[in-house]
């Protein structure tokens, strides 16, 4: 291979600096780098410089051979630093050092017009053909770490604009290089294009699986047409046959995780305090999220500065461990909800012709701005190997974790993520329906594919965050400076157990032929590892496994038991990406470990392995590996003639799948029956099994709810009536409510045993119908009845397991709640209780509103009490109308609540006091400022009848004889007290107040300290009242008696 030879290559002597492909190169020993050059098959792409500056090919092994040996790490770092500062300053300096010398180099810069490529001018056809063949074979056998990087390189060659002439002297063969093989491979653009087309011909199969847009651009490429019309024809056919389209999904608005009483109500918390703290935290979390949404795109806004302290304050309140787990659950659910749905990662289109208008139509200006920013500041890298990033909403969750910097939170989060990953990774996913070639079950199949995609994307997201949190404490910008330090770190770290036993999961996945599910998330997890991780034995063995898997995924192998093509392609893409991650040592790929005995990788799929099922489609491939889209952008830039523009901004691709995971199938049961059931399902379509499990799960759960609503509710009602009785006796004897509860529970809990019987009946009754409704009409009777029976069994098992464990506690809890509810109601406002009449059936609820009446009466009271303007007063008609309205309101009880009625009662008594004391200023001619006696009596009669018939709360009539109201009489002469005496007598006659009660009120008047003239008045009043009552029944009436005073 040209330029690959050890050591003595002339180019090495030229001292050209090869820019690092990696950001953090791992130092490799001199020996090894000489004996096993790493760059041989990893064609470094031609770099592009933003801003249209002329650039040069950094170094191609094909033209110049690799830089032999590693430059010192220090030098490389120095370069990196420069590189970074350059990027920061947006300086137009070239991305890599200008070569001091070199052969002609292809360039891709847009400012230069493309040189036409001519097949007739290819310099050494045969050599190029040979190299292309070897190169293609290497790609085909996965001897290159990253398939798409190679394709990218090839497309770069295809679209090279012209060769840049290097210094003349360098064109001279160096002394000692006589072999023609040592001359540059690509001497002209013609050579480049010829080679590229040759390779593309070999790689047609992979190309044909690329998206429609890429195929179109390839098929339309005039150079390709010119060099290989046959390939162009095949590409065109592939383009026309491609049905894969990527739709533009609507960007979702942020949806909150809904509150579910089953997991979120008070019963799930250790204390009231924890419950209320979490209530507040949920709100703070969303407040922070909303603020982030509003502001994170503002220039100069900083997550930590803007939200950090609020987040930490909130985390500080999560004292109890149980609160942490609640919060983590919320966090994780929100993460899945926001980042897994389309647009969650900042959805963009992928397709034949991106329609900007369409895109804008579907989104708001914010997206346009973001798009603009991306276009205005493209990153300098244009390789299809981006670093791990947290695009879109993921950034919020990452920054939240960083700002929270809470050890407890991170631990709980890791626990929760690990659990969810295990759960999803072991989920039973669809197998192909054996006899469904005719597309009849296409709907099912679509659904199953979608389910796979949702599970896969969820797993990748969870694993990425697990990796992020797990390796967070170890991640730093620099590798350990010395070997000794590194060894000691290794010794330390090798003792730390992995956060999740990913190796075991990988091994299981490979064994069960579920690599297509397990590997993509494992790659996400590993991509966040720190620099030490790949050196640890545990993880090294994982890499070894992955390497062997990679090598075994030969795309051209097709046949019985092979993994599906797109499944393989997905794995190759993600693994290739992983091998390019800076923290993964460069030599890893090329070092033969030879210890495959850890686990024999076998891509032959077992009968029911997922790997053999075409679960991956093109959309999922591009969603997981958006960087494959770089190929299309490269080709598009050739068309548009502006390669600088297309540089490296990573497109995020919108996942198609938006459905939630739904109910997870139950994984249950032991014993022979269970085995039989399993066997029954084995030869049935998987949808049958899912239906049965679904029905069982739902019916079981409904059964529990039903028992709660019927049996338990009945028991609570019994408890309430028992309590009612108890309270009556207790009020006389005095007792402890706690004891009362114990007595009630001991009486009622034994009834819980009925729950199991009733539960069984419920499941028996409900399950078969549901199964019948959900299975196809044509299901054979025997299959149907077995399915029904299994559903009944599973539902019963679920329900009864729960009930037998929890029914007693449930009854206790509900009874306790009822008791405390009743005791509370008993407490401060006994008036609220008791039987209440509603309005009559004919009532149309047109009565005045209680609030209006209180307000009106209050106005009358305030006018009466004063101070008032001279023109202010109340008309007798208004008072009468008011009392009439009060009657209506009290009879229509639609809008009346007890506090309002209590206030109305009190106000009416106050009003009566003012009436009897003749304190209501009447509107009218100045001579008549007082209410006529007759009018006053009429009003009092109305009040009496309201008190007697319409009020349903106790009326505080004793207020009539309160010192304050009796005091009102002080201004009047005793012979004008007839109205009060009239009122008191009516109260007694109507049974609204007892004589004794009134006398007690009068007695207590004496206890109050009053000015002298008032004390006298009271004395008079009480004696008059006593006399009057003795008189009652006599015709004379009290007023004549009063005139004696």
């Amino acid at each position: 291979m040209p330029g690959v030879g050890p050591g003595g290559h002339p180019v090495a002597a030229l001292g050209r600096t090869r820019p690092s492909r990696r950001i953090n190169p791992t130092p490799v020993s001199e020996e090894r780098s000489l004996s096993k050059p790493k760059t041989c098959f990893t064609s470094p792409p031609i770099s592009c410089v933003p801003g249209g500056q002329p650039s040069v090919l950094d170094s191609s092994p094909w033209g110049q051979g690799p830089a032999a040996g590693c430059r010192s790490l220090q030098e490389e770092r120095e370069m990196l630093r420069k590189e970074r500062s350059k990027q920061l300053q947006q300086s137009p300096a070239p991305a890599c050092p200008t070569p001091e010398s070199g052969s002609p180099l292809p360039t891709r810069t847009g400012s230069l017009t493309a040189e036409p490529a001519d097949p007739a001018k290819v310099s050494s056809r045969q050599r190029l053909e040979l190299v292309a063949l070897v190169y293609s074979s290497c790609i085909a056998e996965n001897l290159v770490p990253n398939l798409f990087l190679e394709l990218f390189f090839v497309l770069q060659l295809l679209t090279a604009r012209r060769m840049v002439a290097a210094k003349d002297s360098d064109l001279e063969p160096s002394p000692g290089v006589l072999d023609s093989l040592e001359s540059p491979l690509f001497q002209s653009v013609h050579d480049c294009v010829f080679f590229a087309v040759q390779v593309l011909e070999h790689q047609f199969q992979v190309l044909s699986y690329l998206d429609k847009g890429t195929l179109k651009l390839l098929a339309e490429n005039e150079r390709l047409l010119c060099f290989s019309p046959a390939l162009q024809g095949r590409l065109r056919a592939a383009y026309e046959g491609s049905v894969a389209k990527v739709s533009l999904a609507m960007p979702p608005s942020v949806q909150a995780v809904s509150f579910q009483p089953e997991t979120d109500n008070r019963a799930n918390f250790s204390s009231d305090r924890a419950f209320h703290t979490f209530k507040k935290q949920r709100d703070v979390f969303y407040e922070v999220l909303r603020e982030w949404e509003d502001r994170h795109e503002e220039p100069g806004w900083d997550f930590e500065k803007g939200l950090g302290s609020r987040i930490r304050a909130m985390m500080g309140q999560l004292s109890a461990a149980c609160s942490h787990s609640h919060f983590v659950r919320l966090f994780q659910k929100q993460l899945l909800q926001m980042c897994q749905s389309p647009g969650g990662a900042g959805g963009t289109i992928l397709g034949e012709a991106p329609d900007v208008l369409n895109m804008l139509g579907a989104d708001k200006l914010g997206r346009l701005r973001r798009l603009h920013e991306r276009l205005a500041a493209p990153q300098s890298s244009c390789r299809p190997c981006p670093l791990t990033s947290f695009p879109g909403c993921q950034g919020f969750f990452r920054d939240f974790i960083l700002s929270a910097s809470s050890f407890q939170f991170n631990q709980h989060l890791m626990d929760s993520l690990s659990l969810k990953i295990r759960e999803l990774n072991s989920l039973v996913l669809p197998h192909p329906e054996p006899s469904d070639e005719d597309g009849e079950s296409d709907v099912d199949w679509q659904g199953e594919r979608r389910q796979f995609a949702v599970v896969l994307l969820s797993l990748r997201l969870l694993a990425k965050f697990l990796g992020f949190v797990a390796f967070l404490p170890y991640r730093g910008p620099e590798p350990p400076p010395t070997r000794e330090l590194q060894d000691s770190i290794l010794a330390l770290r090798s003792q730390v157990p992995p956060v999740l036993d990913v190796r075991a999961l990988l091994q299981q996945g490979l064994r069960a032929h579920r690599a297509v599910l397990t590997v993509p998330w494992l790659v996400e997890f590993l991509s966040l590892a720190d620099q030490i991780v790949p050196m640890l034995d545990y993880y090294r063995s994982i890499f070894t496994l992955l390497l062997h898997l990679h090598r075994s995924l030969v795309l051209s192998k097709d046949g019985e038991g092979e993994m599906c093509f797109l499944n393989k392609l997905l794995l190759l893409a993600v693994l290739g990406w992983l091998f390019q991650i800076p923290t993964v040592p460069e030599d890893l790929f090329f070092v033969e470990e030879g210890q495959v005995d850890v686990f024999e990788v076998d891509t032959k799929t077992a009968e029911h392995g997922l790997d053999g099922v075409p679960v991956v489609d093109q959309h999922l491939l591009y969603t997981c590996c958006p960087y494959i889209g770089e190929l299309r952008k490269l080709l598009a830039s050739w068309v548009s003639g502006s390669s600088g523009r297309s540089g490296g901004f990573v497109r995020k691709i919108t996942p198609t799948t938006t459905t939630s995971l739904g109910a997870l199938p139950l994984r249950t049961t032991q014993g022979l029956q269970a085995q039989l059931a399993q066997a029954f399902f084995h030869n049935q379509p998987p949808s049958l099994r899912r239906t049965v499990e679904f029905v069982a799960e739902r019916i079981g759960s409904n059964c529990v709810k039903h028992i709660k609503a019927t049996l338990v509710a009945d028991l609570v009602r019994q408890a309430e009536s028992l309590l009612q009785e108890q309270l009556v006796t207790q009020r006389q004897e005095g007792g402890d409510p706690g004891q009362l509860l114990e007595i009630l529970c001991s009486q009622l809990c034994p009834h819980g045993a009925q729950a199991l019987t009733q539960g069984r009946e419920f499941c028996q009754k409900k399950s078969p119908g549901a199964v019948q409704a959900l299975l196809p009409e044509e299901t054979p009777a025997a299959v149907l009845s077995s399915a029904e029976n299994i559903a009944v069994g599973l539902a019963t098992e679920k329900a009864c397991t729960w009930l037998s464990a929890n029914i007693t506690a449930l009854i206790r809890r509900e009874v306790k709640a009822a008791v405390s509810r009743m005791l509370r109601a008993q407490g401060p406002e006994p008036a609220v209780r008791g039987d209440r009449r509603g309005c009559s059936r004919a009532c149309e609820h047109h009565a005045p509103l209680p609030s209006h009446l209180i307000s009106e009466i209050k106005d009358v009271l305030s006018v009466a009490v004063g101070p008032r303007d001279p023109e202010e007063g109340v008309s007798p008609e208004h008072l009468e109308q008011l009392l009439g309205q009060l009657g209506q309101t009290l009879r229509c009880r639609q809008f009346l609540c007890p506090p309002a009625e209590q206030h109305l009662a009190k106000c009416s008594v106050e009003l009566a006091s003012l009436l009897v004391a003749d304190q209501i200023p009447v509107l009218g001619p100045p001579t008549q400022h007082r209410l006529e006696r007759g009018q006053a009596r009429r009003l009092l009669h109305m009040l009496l009848s309201l008190w007697k018939d319409d009020f349903q709360v106790p009326v505080p009539l004793q207020l009539l004889l309160s010192p304050r109201n009796v005091g009102l009489l002080a201004d009047t002469r005793p012979r004008e007290w007839d109205l009060l005496l009239f009122l008191l007598r009516e109260l007694v006659e109507k049974g609204l107040m007892g004589r004794k009660e009134i006398e007690a009120c009068l007695d207590s008047l004496h206890e109050a300290q009053w000015p002298e003239h008032l004390s006298k008045a009271q004395w008079i009043l009480s004696s008059v009242f006593r006399t009057t009552l003795k008189w009652s029944g006599c015709s004379g009436g009290p007023s004549s008696h009063l005139s004696n005073y």
Binding site: F895, P899, H903, R964
Partner: protein, 283 residues
């Protein structure tokens, strides 16, 4: 009654340093005859409460309390029948009911060994007849019936208005056949935050999906709306998704800016309601 910010500001401008009496309210109605009384009262009450919140502290220094109490004692000594307490409140620009509370508390401190508890004071304010001093009882009562922004009667009226509008809303929902869970049902299920109604099947109002409805029998001004957003509406959104708030007495138009985000404001029960059609539920 939806007001623009400018309209609202004009009204609020007229309410600076106006005592909370029925006379002030009458003048306000004359000044803005086109606005509904309930809206005006609600705005008045809110503006006055803001004013009180701002000045509350200065009336509660021990010097201020002492000075008020002495002035009260002096004046009732001269004429116990005059509206001493009410006038004192107006003089120092403080709510009569709150002034009554200050003086009552001070009075009880003097006449009892132990300082009075809050509940004792509340119950005396609810029923001034229980106040052991007859003159003070009358003075307190006068303050309470003459205060249209504070005091137990006003509290009761506000509570009643809120309750009535919830009932009204419930009736409208029933009439429209929209099934819902009310606050009591939600509380019984253990929800930690409970809007007035959660719709069991969401509907679209003016093209916006809503899951819950909150009834507010008050005017939605900036201050109260922001407090409600923070304490209630966003919390509901955080748990149940987007929803509708009905400010029965209107709101400032400019506040209805979170429609896209999931909080819709209306001043009446919406007419443009789209429900999920039967049979169209399948995806």
């Amino acid at each position: 009654m939806i007001l623009t910010k400018a309209q609202y500001d004009e009204i609020a401008q007229c309410l600076v340093s106006v005592p909370p009496t029925r006379q002030s309210l009458r003048k306000l109605k004359q000044r803005f005859p086109s606005q509904s009384q309930a809206t005006l009262l609600s705005i008045f009450s809110q503006e006055y409460q803001k004013h009180i919140k701002r000045t509350h502290a200065k009336h509660h220094t021990s010097e201020a309390i002492e000075s008020y109490y002495q002035r009260y004692l002096d004046r009732v000594g001269k004429n116990g029948a005059a509206p001493v307490l009410l006038e004192l409140a107006n003089e120092v620009d403080y709510a009569p009911s709150l002034m009554a509370r200050i003086i009552l508390e001070r009075f009880l401190q003097e006449h009892k060994e132990t300082p009075p508890s809050k509940s004792v004071i509340n119950s005396l304010l609810r029923d001034p007849s229980q106040i052991p001093d007859g003159v003070l009882a009358n003075q307190v009562y006068q303050c309470i019936v003459n205060d249209c922004c504070y005091g137990p009667l006003v509290d009761c009226i506000k509570h009643a208005i809120g309750h009535e509008h919830e009932i009204l809303l419930r009736d409208l929902l029933l009439e429209k056949n929209l099934s819902f869970l009310d606050e009591d049902q939600l509380r019984a299920k253990g929800y930690d935050k409970t809007p007035d109604f959660i719709l069991q099947v969401p509907v679209a109002v003016e093209g916006h999906i809503i899951h819950w409805i909150e009834s507010k029998a008050s005017f939605g001004d900036e201050c109260s709306h922001h407090a409600y957003l923070h304490d209630q509406f966003w919390s509901y959104w955080n748990r149940f998704g987007p929803g509708l708030v009905i400010y029965w007495y209107g709101f400032i138009q400019e506040l209805d800016c979170n429609r896209e985000r999931g909080i819709l404001l209306k001043a009446c029960f919406p007419t443009d309601i789209v429900t999920l059609c039967h049979g169209a539920a399948a995806p």
